[in-house]
Symmetry: D2
């Protein structure tokens, strides 16, 4: 993302807990800061991309956090997959400080980030989204302006991940039943690829059918974290999501079998085990 911003002619100051990762960007023209606070000082917009709610909380509100130095009128753009509650708190706290805030989580694995194919789901004041559009255009292939309420972008991102997780569960159950019927996973996958004609089905389906879950494209424990955030959001919205509950229970069973660091496609092993396979 930083490389693409630099490539598009933006001035970029980077901070990363692993300083080497930040320094790798120097050759592309980035400056490296010693802290989030230092990185955010004097910029128009501070873009954060972090693992979870706790990390965002710390990088924003912790000692040397960006909230302490971000100028009035400057914008914090949070691209991480976080909960609706934290998004609302970020919005309120930045507002209180005269700073702007956007929730702009993204869809796409690291390779999609590198090749500028991220999908950006943004919510917040329309005027701020427009102001950020050149940056979004530099890092992604499409930006969706979801609404004025920042937490809406986070809800959409969590629901999008849920759509993928649901597909994983449906693949997993179908593969398990079909294996017991003597049908090769690959044969079913080919039919599904012809039916859905979706690269997402093709990619995930092939990982599940192949059964190779290391190295993880997306660690199972992070998938569980996202489903947990979704269920918390759904509880706040008073909207039952039984399929999300089912997915959570499957991921939890996978955790109990030591699959935390495997790819979340390995959740398919839960259906296989329940069917007495392996």
């Amino acid at each position: 993302m930083a490389s693409n911003l630099l490539r598009a002619g933006h001035e970029v100051v980077v901070f990363n807990r692993s300083r080497e990762k930040a320094e790798a960007l120097i050759s592309d023209g980035a400056r490296v800061a010693d802290s989030p606070a230092a990185a955010a000082r004097d910029c128009e917009a501070a873009i954060t991309m972090l693992t979870d709610d706790r990390a965002v909380d710390e990088v924003v509100f912790g000692e040397d956090g960006i909230a302490s130095t971000l100028a009035a009128g400057a914008i914090h753009v949070s691209c991480s997959t976080i909960g609706m509650g934290l998004a609302k708190r970020l919005d309120a706290e930045h507002r209180r400080r005269g700073q702007g805030y956007l929730s702009a989580p993204v869809f796409g694995r690291p390779d999609a980030a590198e090749s500028r194919r991220l999908l950006i789901v943004a919510a917040g004041p329309a005027e701020i989204i427009e102001r950020m559009r050149p940056a979004f255009d530099a890092i992604g292939r499409q930006t969706f302006a979801i609404g004025e309420d920042v937490a809406q972008a986070n809800a959409v991102k969590l629901c999008g991940n849920f759509m993928i997780a649901s597909m994983l569960e449906s693949f997993s159950e179908a593969f398990a039943a079909l294996r017991k019927a003597g049908v090769a996973p690959q044969a079913f996958l080919e039919a599904m690829n012809a039916l859905f004609a979706s690269p997402v089905y093709a990619n995930y389906g092939s990982v599940i059918a192949g059964g190779k879950f290391e190295p993880a494209g997306f660690a199972l424990r992070l998938g569980l974290k996202d489903v947990r955030l979704l269920l918390e959001a759904a509880e706040g919205l008073e909207a039952p999501m039984p399929l999300a509950s089912l997915v959570r229970d499957r991921l939890l069973s996978a955790m109990a079998h030591g699959q935390a660091e495997l790819d979340w496609c390995s959740a398919s092993l839960v259906s296989a085990r329940a069917a007495g396979l392996e």
Copy 2:
């Protein structure tokens, strides 16, 4: 399907309970028979495409059924979505009579059938599948040879429908939660279309988002029938499919609300009602 067979130069005799529908094919070169038995006499292959297990049972084994006239060595190709049990019985009964049998259920709505875009999932003796290939090529865009056991094709078809039904459920839950968060269904759908890039997601997602469930592209009670067949198959295979159970319960709630003849996308109303919407 009959039109496309005629167009490809095959000789076709048709039977339909509504004789007018059969007669509409006369101008394309079809002959019309008075009964399944009459239609199947002297042909190389009898292709059946019917609503459910009971209809197939009757058309094949009933008085004037095709089993009574199909020549030894001729083939019955069942394209209907039927259960694994019936498929096995068809196979055994035809075998006993010296007749051939293939399960070859298809994916695709009537418009796909008209435009030769059906996907054909075939199972049975490889030699018979090859013999039928010209006919399959005439009616579909791709044929998948799944295996030697005829019921495998039916299992794959039922699992394919389950994949679609699961997608409906995930859309339904996401839309319901997001509506309570103030996000327009259309906004979420656009993001999902960019993410999945699948015409199936685009079509179904748009029907759910639009909320227009009449006339039905696929009646909800038929969707329920397919899930029931899948669960029976899965029980026979001793493979639990909790997501299929969930989908069944949603469709059943829709039935209880008088939605039997609505499009099965109207199952989305179940999630909406559970969330207190409408």
Copy 3:
């Protein structure tokens, strides 16, 4: 049941597929018949107690079935756990022959039958229930007249078994989680016994906590059969029962692990395995 009828002074003719079992009752005063038809000839009431729908169908409507000899005005009392559909068919067929019919399934294991502690759930014409009351009083401790529609008794029996199966599932999940918290099953069971003060909880809870599932008090595959009958009934009634679906999936997973002939309390192993125990 036959012994208790004899003890109460009733005249009893018995038929059992294993003739020895029938003959064991001769010393109590029973006569032994060579077929269901022979047993039902000249009696006031024919009481059937069989494993499943198929067995009842055969014993009633098969060659030498009781329907062929039961006198007009005599009553068939079906005590088996069967589906609502078969109950309705029995009612209609007996009616057509001028014979009476009652559904009167019972709650209670063999030892409860021996000691006259069965609970009898009867449905059918009130007048016929009254006529049968002396017989019911001879075999059970309480008779519940549920309604005029015979299938209602079967629905109540299936729902009662579902209540027990649900309790098994809740115990199973609690025991599994608590074992991972280091709590001994026995310690939890004692608290639950104090809380629920129910012999059913005490008995089943102790079997699960003890983990000894052979010999089976009630075979798991029969438990699955009952849940299947319940789900069919619920589908006919258009009433979703997600907890019954969950129980079915758990029993199915147990079947996949070879537990068909173990006690259905062994369904608890499914929760244990899902939690990574054992």
Copy 4:
């Protein structure tokens, strides 16, 4: 509980946010304190009984909280239904201050508390449990020493509530299906009372069958809170509890229909609505 302690001859200082409630105990011999801190000063044991985690956190660690005044060697006994996480934190924090801590949640409604029929589930150092036994004997009818790890008592309490909630769900589904079969709830309830012979089934079953959910014996939103705490505990233990997930989703649907302050038995309306009743 305070009255019963006084009646047993203990010296009691009370604090309640609603001072009137505390003052009502003066006639029984209680002294009234102005803050939790004041109440806890100079006592042997501080017993807290509060609504939720947040209230316990505040009363213990807040300004004027009991942690600030409880003497070294004195014991904090937490009787509230709280999460395993908070229990562990309470244990660690009190330990750090040289204070003792027990988790001792109770089963029983207010009337059970009044009549000394509470069930007490205690965990912590055996020696401290013994030291508290006279107090436990004064307020309850039985005390269960679950283990040395304080959070075990909380896990047992949450699982016990889950057992009750599961029973509610099974009753709800059965009643809904049976109503559609024309069976009166009361008729089913009588059979279940004969079968389970449990006062818990009798009481809850009768509330559900009666359909009167106000005033609430236990508010539905508090039931949802307890299930949430259980699911958090189960996630920490890596033990999937799909039945708990189902119960949570039903309670959430009830919340969406404005039932937060109704009795949690009103969760039965969710099954009724899903079946198209009302």
